[in-house]
């Protein structure tokens, strides 16, 4: 019975995802795409911080490596003017290389990431943000400096993710860049989510969770703790890189200032709000944190205490930030499993009502003790 409900639920979600570009405005599609990119990045951070207990404050750095890596690999070099460099590679290859480059960047840092843990790693990774910002602002031929540089659109087997040349019309809806990217984003998110789920439920996931819960026990059980920490760090960097590529494609312009400390912290907020250690938690948290500011902006006139755009008072963006700051506190205090944990508990309560002879309760929420 519950299996049928699960299947129905997924069919509904899939239908909603396919129909969405036909009904939603461009601006909503863009927000949705940012949320998908954030979800991919958050899954990566959740593998590292949620499942392995390794705090990273430098996740935004790997997003930046992915984004600028893609732009550099895909751009055709300009001779005159600013002298922006590039390799002019085919865009899918550039995207793959950008993800690998993020992995390499993570690999360079992994000797440190493998040996530090908890808050110490958090502080060490913080350095990445500042180093990254300095490099991005000064390596003008690669990154375009403070103003960033335009992103070459993705072209997959002759199919361009752009508004031009001819507007593709499906069911009366013009399919521009955002509509096309929507499906690319969904495919990437589903792939990234399934891969992470496989990792978490398999042999590496058990080792990662035990490193988080009891490092000494993990070592004694035969897990090479240092190598595993380093490996998870590289994997998490690659997820960050993929998220960066997608953000660059949606944004169409990469700006160094975007990949700062605020972004890194918002990724931590996503996994805490959504639920530490699970793929679904990362996705829920990413959508919550990325969609909240736009929801507030769109409906600011209907919300109390939020001033409409252009007027005095607490603006929508500030209100959203206050709310998600509040959400972090509330989740940490009252919902140790995050929003996803709340959802699982509600579902368990519902199924228990329909089937009174259910077995022992299986929902267990992470306690603060098990997080470090």
């Amino acid at each position: 019975m519950s299996k049928i409900i699960t299947v129905l639920w997924w069919v509904l979600v899939a239908a909603g995802v396919v129909i969405a570009p036909f009904y939603l405005d461009g601006i909503w599609l863009q927000d949705g795409l940012f949320a998908m990119a954030a979800a991919i990045g958050a899954i990566g951070l959740n593998l590292l911080t949620g499942a392995t207990g390794q705090l990273s404050m430098g996740h935004a750095f790997f997003l930046a490596v992915g984004a600028f890596g893609y732009v550099y690999f895909a751009s055709v070099p300009e001779d005159g003017g600013h002298g922006l460099g590039g390799l002019g590679l085919p865009t899918p290859l550039a995207a793959v290389l950008a993800v690998l480059l993020s992995g390499v960047a993570g690999g360079v840092f992994s000797p440190i990431a493998g040996r530090l843990k908890g808050a110490y790693l958090g502080i060490a990774t913080l350095a990445l943000i500042f180093i990254g910002h300095f490099v991005m602002s000064n390596a003008t031929p690669v990154t375009g400096g403070h103003n960033g540089r335009p992103v070459p659109p993705m072209e997959l087997f002759g199919f361009a993710f752009t508004d031009t040349p001819e507007p593709l019309v499906i069911a009366g809806v013009p399919f521009g860049a955002l509509e096309r990217l929507w499906f690319l984003g969904v495919a990437l998110l589903v792939g990234a989510g399934l891969f992470a789920r496989g990792v978490l439920r398999g042999r590496p996931g058990r080792a990662m969770n035990t490193i988080r819960d009891h490092e000494i026990a993990a070592g004694v059980m035969g897990v090479p703790v240092t190598r595993y920490r380093a490996g998870v760090f590289v994997l998490s960097s690659m997820y960050g890189g993929l998220a960066g590529v997608l953000i660059a494609l949606v944004f169409r312009q990469t700006v160094p200032d975007y990949f700062g400390l605020i972004l890194a912290l918002s990724y931590l907020a996503m996994i805490i709000i959504g639920g530490l250690g699970s793929v679904a938690g990362a996705v829920v948290g990413a959508f919550f944190v990325s969609m909240l500011p736009s929801l507030f902006t769109r409906y600011s006139d209907a919300l109390p205490l939020v001033a409409p755009t252009g007027q005095e008072g607490v603006g929508a963006a500030e209100a959203a930030q206050i709310l998600y700051g509040l959400a972090v506190v509330v989740v940490v205090l009252f919902l140790p499993g995050g929003l996803f944990g709340l959802f699982t508990r509600l579902r368990l309560r519902l199924t228990r009502r329909t089937a009174p002879a259910s077995p022992a309760k299986h929902a267990l929420i992470p306690t603060p003790e098990t997080r470090n």
């Binding site: 891969f195 992470a196 496989g198 990792v199 439920r201 398999g202 042999r203 590496p204 996931g205 058990r206 080792a207 969770n209 035990t210 988080r212 819960d213 009891h214 000494i216 026990a217 993990a218 070592g219 004694v220 059980m221 035969g222 897990v223 090479p224 703790v225 490996g231 994997l235 250690g277 022992a360 309760k361 299986h362 267990l364 992470p366 306690t367 098990t370």
Partner: protein
């Protein structure tokens, strides 16, 4: 079944800053025997365990398991040789099911890495199925079959202790090290655990190193007993001999001070 090597501890000394936790301790665990290490609190029993499993580094001395020198190895390499241990204070993942905790014991015997597990490659799935079947056998042996899919954190203490043992057995050890397996248990649970340890020894024929405070259990199970006091070895031999050793009686009962008091 691979042969069980002898474990030889030679002149192992461990110092933490000014404190000498183990002072030139030597003993040998014969293949297939149950060897108990006993002593009052703070005698260095757990330190000894941590040196054998690679958690602590010995300041000097050597530990040989067959041809391998353990004192220079990291814990995961020692685990790779077939030394498995349990923890006095339970060290399981409370959120993972009993099955997943036990499957962690199979880590050294399995190969699936990030890519194989992430892509669910057929090789990884076959491997998982094969080792899962063995974990279920071990669960049946230890009496955990009904609890396999329950998160460990929801189980009572006595059962968690059994999960610890089951996880160690999942490593297919050649030397099983049990750190106070019945500490904090009631009478019935103690009896069950003692029977289980006997059954492990009879069915697998592996060496067992036991650290325990329960003297009745030690005397019943052990073939040899090593007694530590303040980091020094004060007796080593068969249980009956050790039991009557005046040095041991003094360490446990403080006979010297009592006689001193009586004299004064």
């Amino acid at each position: 079944m691979t042969s069980i090597p002898r474990l030889e501890v030679r002149d192992v000394t461990v110092r933490f800053a000014g404190l000498t936790a183990l002072d030139a301790v030597s003993f040998t665990i014969e293949p297939g025997s149950v060897h108990a290490v006993i002593g009052p609190n703070g005698a260095g029993k757990s330190t000894c365990f941590n040196v054998l499993s690679g958690v602590y580094r010995a300041t000097s001395g050597s530990v040989r398991f067959g041809d391998a020198e353990l004192t220079t190895m990291p814990p995961h390499r020692i685990a790779g040789l077939g030394l498995a241990r349990t923890f006095q204070n339970i060290a399981l993942s409370p959120l993972l099911s009993v099955r997943d905790n036990m499957m962690l014991g199979r880590h050294r015997l399995t190969r699936a890495g990030f890519v194989a597990a992430g892509l669910r490659l057929p090789s990884a799935r076959r491997e998982a199925a094969r080792h899962n079947a063995r974990a279920e056998e071990i669960a049946a042996f230890v009496g955990l079959t009904e609890r396999l899919d329950v998160p460990v954190g929801l189980l009572p203490y006595g059962v968690q202790k059994r999960v610890e043992l089951a996880r160690a057995l999942c490593m297919e050890p050649r030397l099983l090290m049990l750190d106070e397996p019945v500490a904090g248990m009631n009478g019935g649970e103690r009896r069950d655990m003692a029977e289980l340890i006997m059954a492990v020894r009879e069915s697998l024929g592996i060496s067992i190193l036991l650290v325990e405070h329960d003297m009745g259990m030690v005397m019943r199970l052990a073939d040899a007993v090593t007694v530590l006091d303040f980091g020094r070895l004060i007796a080593d031999g068969p249980p009956q001999e050790v039991q009557n050793d005046p040095e041991v009686i003094r360490a446990y009962l403080g006979a010297t001070s009592e006689t001193e008091e009586a004299a004064s």
